[in-house]
């Protein structure tokens, strides 16, 4: 009996030990994670730099690293290698898990971490050629030796940090998800850049436009989705003259009409992802120096997508926001120039229907001949299961995304005109697949000294197409629409294209000097907010739609009237909550209600709207009512003719809706085609208002503080892996879509900065969170409240390390 007791006890003990030592589903290995010696508590104070001296074999000369009171690193090095090495090291110190996780996501490797539920995501990432794209980028970057050596040095720095860690010191996310960091490589830096390219240029409306062509015909399609909207305040001022292109791009003989119904794009970046930037010249500022502002509107996460850094060598001195994963500053300033980006929005993501000779997909038909495909075997490792093997077919357009059993689209068989059975797939043509070296642009911008350096740097920028705003200490301001958008015939790529016909092939990129740009305009400012780049005068076709120009127009209203501008004026514009669309449509709506007998519970909401000044402030009720009202009205207008929701089919944008409300109240789109009655504009206004009040009452009760915009919408800044408790929820924020302060539920200004190009420059900046990626750090979210309140912190970019207060760390000191 005593043996049996002992054996049972041993097995039981071994059983619970194994159980507590291993991850079960989403639960981390409990004892390993909670063990106060080696678990999450071993990370306490891991954000603090304990050492005053560091030594690395790779570093050639002494480097001075100062961590200031905002936890921003200031790196003073004597050469580029030491600088990039230290940037890699210190970025990994604060953001290792984030930078590695994002590159694993880009490369379709999340199944390795979390198991089979990530397989569709990983397969899609492989199918759209993320790694293929990064590999091509890497080959091109290697041609620029100074840039590539910087990326290598960065990788060396990241690896030096990884190698200095043991299990106890791995960031908490590794402990929760139970895996280890792997060696950093230059390819990972490229993967990271490509994931930004996907976020900013990976949205596709081609299938929607094909469906709409079927549903409403070409005439109505052009009416509802015009290339240029009614209200247009383009980036390059209207009626700016442009040179005619040397060659014209011929239209195909007839427009190919694809079958869009089998397909659904698995992952779509947010439609209104975008940014603001602007610069004014000295004639508009109090100091007489140009002022520049940039706030990129991206997904708001903790840790933040950006990492502030100050880089200094005897050759240059630059400060700004870097991307954790690559060297250099991406949006910032040096002692001579300042720059910042907004998304360009050009259509550089197109689909082609491919006809294969057989379902083996070895050959495909193009220009009257059979071309050979390339096949790439993708092994997707899955945690706890055997690997999934996928074969991705590559054509000269790019990878064939939809063919495979189990993928979002299966290959379907069709008969050609002769009755022969053909196998059809759909290939992706994406500008990010082209050989490019975007890193070269940032490398050159970091060191640029004047306007020509800036223009030269932009020629290397391919994808995603961006609007680079510029200001310098010589008093110049400018904006360039930079990226290698192909020269297209009008509407090329608006629909899925014929992959057999060379007339649909992309042409060469728009020549660099013909990319839309303007320097020192008479109006004294340049600006962009993702709206149309130009008016109809520009000779190149850039894409079927751009973000509505309400936001840009509001910014331009400010900039036009601006005199003696200071930092405070710029902060006021960055945090401006006025919605110009509301200003135009709400009076129309209210005039309809004015003619109607209101129900008693409508009176107070209407009173809120009447006294409203169209500002989406957090402490106002009217924005909540208006926002819901316009959405309800939009539903009633479009759903009957176009389809059920925004996600299933692209609805016309708000600029078109605004035109309908203010100018086309008798339009055929007003009538609900599903009823026998003919609805009038006033019917829809009343019905949508009634729906709004009912919905709000149902959701948040009778009109009260719960209806405040900041309470109703608010902002959630979640952890990158959505780990509960590691994010911040229900922040009371103002702003919204179509508004300069573009703060939304999960998106918004991911970095706000303003710089005055005096000599030396003066600057302020803020992140919606903090510098550290360690959730136990006070620097994890210490800037959040100031960001929410619209405040910016002073930036110290002195080229003299003595001027910077903070913890000083000497790397490879001459005396050490």
């Amino acid at each position: 009996m005593k043996y049996i007791k002992a054996i049972i006890s041993i097995f039981f003990l071994i059983g619970i030990t194994i159980l507590l030592n291993n991850k079960m589903g989403n639960i981390p290995p409990l004892a390993t994670f909670l063990d106060p010696f080696h678990g999450f508590l071993s990370l306490v104070n891991s954000d603090i730099h304990n050492k005053n001296i560091l030594n690395f074999d790779e570093i050639q000369n002494e480097v001075k690293l100062i961590i200031d009171e905002n936890h921003v690193p200031h790196i003073f090095a004597k050469n580029d290698y030491d600088l990039c090495f230290t940037q890699g090291y210190i970025t990994a110190f604060d953001r290792l898990w984030q930078m590695e996780f994002q590159t694993m996501a880009a490369g379709g490797r999340i199944s390795e971490i979390i198991g089979p539920k990530a397989l569709p995501f990983d397969q899609y990432q492989r199918r759209i050629g993320m790694v293929y794209s990064a590999e091509k980028g890497l080959i091109e970057t290697m041609k620029h030796k100074n840039v590539y050596s910087g990326i290598e040095a960065y990788a060396d720095g990241v690896n030096a940090y990884i190698n200095s860690l043991n299990w106890d010191q791995y960031p908490i996310e590794y402990k929760i998800l139970d895996y280890k960091p792997e060696k950093w490589t230059p390819l990972k830096t490229l993967l990271f850049l490509k994931t930004m390219a996907f976020s900013l240029s990976g949205r596709s409306s081609d299938l929607d436009f094909n469906k709409l062509w079927d549903k409403i015909g070409m005439e109505d399609l052009n009416d509802l989705y015009p290339e240029f909207p009614n209200y247009l305040d383009p980036i390059i001022p209207k009626e700016t003259p442009f040179a005619k292109p040397i060659k014209s791009i011929p239209f195909p003989d007839s427009l190919y009409r694809a079958n869009p119904y089998q397909d659904k794009v698995l992952i779509q970046p947010d439609a209104r992802i975008g940014s603001n930037n602007w610069a004014v010249d000295g004639s508009k500022t109090k100091s007489g120096f140009p002022l520049l502002s940039n706030d990129p509107h991206l997904g708001l996460t903790l840790p933040n997508i950006w990492y502030q850094i100050h880089l200094n060598t005897p050759e240059f001195n630059v400060y700004g926001a870097s991307l954790p994963g690559g060297p250099c500053v991406i949006s910032g300033f040096n002692d001579y120039i300042a720059w910042g980006e907004t998304n360009g929005g050009d259509d550089v993501w197109d689909w082609y229907d491919i006809v294969f000779k057989s379902n083996k997909m070895n050959q495909y038909f193009y220009d009257n001949e059979w071309l050979t495909t390339e096949k790439k075997i993708e092994e997707i490792k899955i945690r706890g299961e055997k690997s999934f093997i996928d074969t991705v077919i590559y054509t000269h357009f790019g990878p064939v995304v939809w063919t495979h059993e189990g993928q979002t689209k299966r290959m379907h068989n069709e008969r050609n005109q002769s009755g022969e059975m053909l196998s059809v797939g759909r290939a992706l043509r994406w500008l990010a697949h082209d050989s490019s070296a975007e890193s070269k642009t940032f490398y050159e911008l970091n060191k640029a000294k004047n306007y020509q350096d800036y223009v030269d740097a932009l020629q290397y920028f391919t994808c995603p197409v961006q609007n680079f705003v510029y200001a310098d200490i010589d008093g110049n301001i400018a904006i360039w629409h930079a990226g290698n958008t192909p020269q297209k015939w009008k509407n090329q790529g608006r629909f899925v294209m014929d992959g057999t016909n060379p007339q649909y092939n992309w042409n060469d990129a728009i020549p660099h000097n013909e990319k839309a740009h303007i320097k020192n305009p008479k109006r004294g400012f340049v600006s962009s907010a993702n709206q149309h780049i130009t008016d109809e005068n520009y000779p190149y076709y850039l894409g079927p739609w751009f973000v509505e120009s309400f936001r840009g127009e509001r910014i331009n209203q400010h900039l036009t009237s601006l005199k003696n501008a200071t930092f405070d004026d710029f902060i006021e514009i960055q945090t401006d909550n006025k919605n110009l669309m509301a200003e135009r449509v709400l009076p129309v709506f209210l005039s309809v209600l004015n003619d109607t007998l209101l129900k008693p519970h409508f009176i107070q909401p209407v009173a809120e709207l009447i006294k409203w000044n169209y500002f989406f402030d957090a402490d106002k009720i009217a924005p909540t009512i208006y926002n819901e009202w316009i959405d309800q009205f939009e539903n009633l207008v479009w759903e009957d003719e176009l389809g059920k929701s925004y996600d299933e089919i692209l609805w016309p944008d708000y600029a078109r809706l605004e035109r309908l409300i203010t100018k086309e109240q008798n339009s055929k789109w007003i009538d609900n085609i599903n009823t026998n009655k003919k609805e009038l504009f006033s019917d829809l206004v009343y019905k949508s208002f009634e729906n709004t009040i009912n919905l709000l009452t149902q959701e948040v009760g009778q009109l009260s503080e719960l209806w405040f915009w900041g309470n109703y919408r608010g902002t959630d800044i979640l952890h990158l892996a959505k780990i509960p408790g590691f994010g911040v929820e229900n922040l009371s924020t103002g702003g919204g879509k179509l508004i300069p302060n573009a703060t939304r539920k999960h998106f918004g200004p991911s970095w706000r900065y303003i710089v005055e190009m005096s000599s030396p420059p003066k600057a302020k900046g803020i992140l919606p969170g903090g510098q550290s990626g360690y959730p136990g750090s006070k620097y994890y979210d210490n800037m959040l409240e100031e960001w929410r309140a619209g405040e910016l912190r002073d930036i110290n970019s002195s080229s003299n390390p003595e001027d910077i207060n903070g913890k000083v760390i000497i790397i490879n000191g001459e005396n050490s």
Binding site: K2, K5, A6, V44, G725, Y780
Partner: protein, 113 residues
Amino acid sequence: MNYIKKMSVFVLILFPVLYFLPWWAGVIYCVIIGAMAESNISAIQIGSSTLTITWAIILFYRWIIGGEILMARVATMMNVNNSFMLAIIILILPIIIGGVSGLTGILIRKAID
């Protein structure tokens, strides 16, 4: 008094063991000290309290020297009300593991005897 002295010695020895080795080294350690106990009950007690006290010392030390924010975030992650509740949950583990280990130790000894 004798019990406290004995346990203090066990804790002092366990501390470096757990500092340098993974958590399950504590399991083996408690099996050994359990084998030295006089009865099943005292084996459970000595295993459980030695491991729990050792964990508690380092847990509260790290909590106090800068772990407040981290404890609060992990408490939310684990869906417990606050850091104090999290500390209790953390310490339940060594209570169970230490107790089972101690009992296993004495049962092995009895089987061998």
